[in-house]
């Protein structure tokens, strides 16, 4: 039985919003995992599926509209298809928008791999009055076509059947289906002769004629380069237009020809309902307030519903800490105990408690995205963003940044333009993240009366946003100067998001976050624990102290404590004492560490109430100092995880260093001014 199993590799390609993910989910269920393509930060989803005696290894390629070299996603997609020995590529097509979707299909065919077309959302297409002559279309395009409805699990069996059949058929030439007309075909043929028998030679030649930067880069042969240049020049004179325009034109011509023969359209638009919703959602005046209201609801719900699971997790880690402590006799000191309880459980636990918030936030983002609203949000905010030299799409990562800067930076992949992307990444830490919320949650009630708390909180967030706007503007006219890239984006029709898709998305993000907590943050926690416990104070200093005071003295003598003390004079003008500076060193690693460190410097045990710490804080510091601490935490030193992601996403460690020093310097300057002015005003 087992030896009969045939393993086949399948890739799913398709436009964004074609329902590719619903097909992928339908095929693989929960048997999937997320990774990255080697060398780039494009997400790679892989899943498995069993069908008859086939074991399918399915890769979900990034959603793209075409296979140009303009975006990383497109380059990744085509390189993956060329380099991997794929048995079948399934192109998922939005059947209600077939002309535009087939543009990708035609380019995939040129790559000359065995292919199956999935006409997805065929139920919607039918409702909209589209009638397909599948058989005819299949002959015209030269590929198998299956009608599917991904979110209702319809046509999945047929799709699997088509995949299995196609994988077993002898390879045929898919690339020759589209003809570009005499002149261009002549040039293609001439150039193709210069390549050895190559499965992708037609594709390579077409890309060269299209003056594709990425493919041209890899051609070293001078003879071919000259021949290509001659062909381009020749075509240019004949058509009085760049060859890539003519090629695109021919592809669309081929598609619309095929559609005219095999598709009947009885109703005009697939957008009637969407357009109606849009008259309100993207309204000239109402659009922005609606957007702001929706965002408010998202954040409010995230924190409102996140509160309980967060509390349970806190209780769990508290219990875990107690239990582990219980393994040692009461009052005994053990390095291992301290490492486990204070270092690992405290450090990782402090991060894991945010998991419910992160998952809820990503569920909300998935709903906004799957319903089609995210694109509208970019549309509505474009005008504002334009003023700071960015465009609407930059707004999406910024929103995510209020949850956590790390996924926000990863979300910057949607920005095609490098300058736009780097500017957005650099200013993202100024959008106050959930971890910094813990600091405000500790400080604001300590220093401000109930009626002012909401306002102070808003003020902090507002300062962050304002600084981000100014910083972005400055970056765009200095370091990252350059024309704003034109803003082009598709507005997908509104759709009802499916619960399954949201749950899968939530689970994926939650898992990535947990993995981070289990690796990076675990390592950092241990390092921080060492730096916070060594060198040990002399034994006589500890005589006669209770355990909380002991911890305080140990911290003061440790590397972290000493560094804090040494840096104190530098932070005096900001109103910080050595305790705050010590805690800030912890916060440089991860913002949520600040509160824990503050607790230790005040020798308040974790099991005591936060209100005790608040009381002590309000005795020792003025509200102005409290505010300055929050301000500094908001602006300064993005956490280590952020820096790591910045480095990965920008490809240069220099940008991460620049981000860190730039923001820390900015924090120092702003806090300095606020504290000094505040001191003068308060006399």
């Amino acid at each position: 039985m087992a030896e009969n199993i045939k393993r086949i590799t399948v890739a799913l390609a398709g436009n964004p919003n074609s329902g590719k993910t619903t097909i992928f989910n339908s095929l693989t269920g929960m048997r999937q995992h997320v990774g990255n393509y080697p060398g780039v930060t494009v997400e790679k989803k892989q899943g498995f599926c069993r069908y008859q005696d086939y074991e399918l290894d399915i890769v979900d390629l990034p959603g793209t509209y075409s296979l140009t070299a303009y975006s990383t996603e497109e380059v990744v997609t085509r390189n993956f298809i060329i380099e991997q020995k794929l048995d079948v590529v399934v192109d998922v097509v939005d059947a209600s928008n077939i002309e535009r979707n087939l543009y990708l299909a035609v380019q995939l065919m040129e790559l000359n791999v065995p292919m199956v077309l999935a006409f997805n959302m065929s139920d919607i297409a039918r409702q909209r009055g589209l009638v397909f002559d599948i058989e005819k279309l299949s002959i015209l395009l030269g590929v198998k076509i299956v009608q599917t409805v991904g979110n209702k699990h319809q046509g999945i069996e047929e799709l699997l059947d088509a995949i299995a059949q196609t994988s077993q058929q002898p390879m045929k030439d898919y690339a020759a289906a589209i003809k570009y007309g005499g002149e261009i075909e002549n040039e293609i043929e001439k150039l193709q002769q210069k390549f050895d028998e190559l499965r992708h030679s037609r594709w390579t030649v077409i890309k060269l004629l299209e003056q594709d930067a990425d493919v041209s880069k890899h051609i070293q042969n001078q003879e071919i380069i000259t021949a290509v240049q001659n062909s381009i020049k020749h075509l240019n004179t004949i058509f009085a237009e760049e060859p890539e325009i003519i090629i695109a034109d021919r592809r669309y011509g081929f598609i619309s020809g095929a559609c005219q023969e095999a598709v009947k359209n009885t109703i005009e638009s697939r957008h009637n309902r969407s357009d109606m919703i849009d008259t309100v959602m993207t309204h000239k005046i109402l659009g922005l307030p609606i957007f702001i209201a929706l965002m408010y609801i998202v954040f409010d719900l995230t924190f409102r519903f996140g509160k309980w699971p967060m509390h349970w997790l806190e209780m769990f880690f508290g219990w875990l800490g107690q239990t582990v402590t219980g393994f040692w006799p009461v009052g005994s000191e053990s390095v291992l105990k301290s490492l486990l309880v204070d270092g690992i459980i405290g450090g990782v636990g402090g991060v894991v408690v945010f998991l419910p918030n992160i998952m809820l936030l990503f569920a909300a983002i998935a709903i906004l995205e799957d319903s089609g609203y995210m694109a509208r949000a970019a549309f509505v905010t474009d005008r504002l963003m334009h003023k700071i030299g960015l465009h609407g799409k930059s707004f999406i990562p910024m929103l995510i940044g209020f949850g956590c800067t790390v996924p926000a930076i990863m979300a910057c992949r949607i920005l095609e333009n490098r300058r736009n992307r780097i500017t957005t990444i650099l200013v993202l830490p100024l959008f106050s993240c959930g971890a910094r919320l813990t600091i405000y949650a500790l400080f604001i009630p300590a220093f401000f009366a109930v009626q002012w708390r909401g306002a102070v909180m808003l003020l902090i967030y507002f300062i962050g946003i304002t600084l981000a706007v100014i910083a972005a503007k400055i970056l765009r006219i200095t370091l990252l100067k350059g024309e704003t890239i034109p803003f082009v984006m598709e507005l997908p029709p509104y759709r009802m998001p499916t619960l399954k898709a949201i749950l899968i998305h939530m689970w994926e993000r939650g898992w990535l976050y947990l993995k981070k907590a289990g690796t990076v943050i675990l390592a950092i926690s241990v390092i921080l624990w060492i730096a916070g416990n060594w060198p040990k104070p002399a034994a006589e200093k500890l005589a006669g102290l209770n355990s909380e005071q002991e911890r305080q003295v140990s911290l003061e003598s440790s590397l972290v404590g000493r560094t804090g003390k040494a840096r104190e004079p530098a932070f005096k003008p900001l109103g910080f004492d050595s305790r705050v500076v010590t805690a800030l060193i912890g916060a440089a690693v991860a913002k949520e560490v600040f509160v824990a460190q503050m607790g230790i410097t005040y020798s308040i045990s974790k099991h005591e109430n936060v209100s005790v710490l608040r009381e002590r804080l309000s005795q020792d510091y003025t509200p102005l100092q409290g505010f300055c601490v929050m301000l500094f935490c908001l602006i300064s030193a993005p956490c280590l995880a952020t820096l790591a992601v910045t480095r990965i996403e920008t490809g240069k460690i220099g940008w991460a260093i620049f981000q860190w020093t730039g923001l820390t310097a900015l924090a120092y300057a702003v806090t300095f001014v606020v504290y000094q002015v505040g001191m003068i005003l308060s006399g």
């Binding site: 325009i245 694109a375 549309f379």
Partner: protein
């Protein structure tokens, strides 16, 4: 063609149907728009021109958002 006679996409009112003539831009942008189906002779409809700000057009049954700057470079024929 004289400049005054050129009709720009950004000046079209909601609901107008026009034909795309050309875009006054560099090779990169031209090719990008072509890949999206914005090719000479193609019909498009202005859906939402809420100036100032980007505009929405209908192109082959898709709703495309175009930045205002770019719409100012696209020459159309009513």
């Amino acid at each position: 063609m004289k400049i005054q006679e050129q009709i720009l996409l950004k000046d079209m009112a909601n609901g107008t149907k026009v034909r795309f003539l050309k875009v006054d831009a560099g090779r990169g942008l031209k090719a990008r728009l072509a890949a999206m189906g914005l090719l000479a002779g193609v019909e498009l409809k202005v859906i939402n021109n809420g100036h100032p700000g980007p505009l929405v057009i209908d192109l082959k049954g898709s709703r495309m958002v175009l930045g205002r700057g770019m719409a100012g470079k696209i020459i159309v024929k009513p």
